[in-house]
Symmetry: none
Subunit: 198 residues, 2 copies
Amino acid sequence: MHYLIDDTARMPANWREAFPEGLWRRRTEHVAASARLCWVRLLPGELPAQLVPTLNLPANFVILADAPSEAITVQALEVGAAGCCNTYAAPDVLRQVDVVVANGGLWVGRSLLQHVLASTQRILEKKAESAPQDWQLLLSGREITVAQLVGQGASNKEVARQLDIAERTVKAHLTAIFEKLQVRDRLQLSLRINGVRD
Amino acid sequence: MHYLIDDTARMPANWREAFPEGLWRRRTEHVAASARLCWVRLLPGELPAQLVPTLNLPANFVILADAPSEAITVQALEVGAAGCCNTYAAPDVLRQVDVVVANGGLWVGRSLLQHVLASTQRILEKKAESAPQDWQLLLSGREITVAQLVGQGASNKEVARQLDIAERTVKAHLTAIFEKLQVRDRLQLSLRINGVRD
DNA sequence: GCAGCCATTGGACTTTGGTACAAATCCAGG
DNA sequence: CCTGGATTTGTACCAAAGTCCAATGGCTGC
């Protein structure tokens, strides 16, 4: 049997859809030790380390976060959760989590996993510090200028005005930049040159 | 259909049991592009980065290692694999990997995951002190979720798929977010939530 | 000189992002 | 019961972003 421990006002529809027979419980209510899996929903801003010790949970439980983050997930697993996922994850995903956990696995969402693995990779390579501005080496002078402005949030029109060139030219530079840096649009360019890891 | 790309002498019994209809292939042989999942077995001492580029693999493939390690797994995902697991994993586990990958997930074994998460924890502790997220206080739960995804570079379509809602809804949330945070587009939103100062 | 890169621009086009206006459900609190 | 916020979706429309093909002129190095 599945349990959803949730002190918010409304039960997420996707969970109900994933587990039509699942039971909704307040944090103060009892959960059978025989529960197959217990889903614990965090309140906004709450962290697993604050909540979990206050509850009497069965062996298998999973944290549900409305706004999951790397910090929440790591902490969830640290306090014994078998996984952490978005409260609003699709029903298929929820059922998938169930299957993985039932087989003794740990569940971590794809984006987080990539995030974490990317961090690990940097540790393994220890390259992070050596090449802070590698992208500049791949671009021509003008392209660097355009990339910096776009990276700060400027529109094509603004870049054009500031550099006194046609908007069309800005687009041409951007197309070249995207190709050279292997990014698909200005937002990912911004993340790249501002050193935001994802 | 499942394929096992394996140049060793014997086909692992567990794989045969997990996918009775699966096809065993040498590395030189052709794999249908319509393959559901392609399992690639590493030879002893071999690394994914050496092998994968030499093969013509479909979109979804998983690395099988007789002796999996953190290095092998990270490298496997780096070169595009959807997961990495022990060649001799139980049939149930193999089928589980299949399900996860079929749903767009990445699969990483439990022990590796714990290992990697432990490393990540240290980085997070440093990051946590620096930036209190004021913007989160202005948004509803769902809006926070959308803002985070967009801030990481996701397109409207990707956000919609990930949250299992219509693209139109993503736009509605974004319009509300822009208004509340007083930014004009997704790029400036990204700068705001990633704490980039200009 | 000529090949090659850089910077520039145009026209035509497709895709994506964002807004306006509207409306549905659910649920909380008065 | 009714109001108001949160979440969801629709149609339609406009603007911005991005691509493709093509061209010009400047500069450098062989």
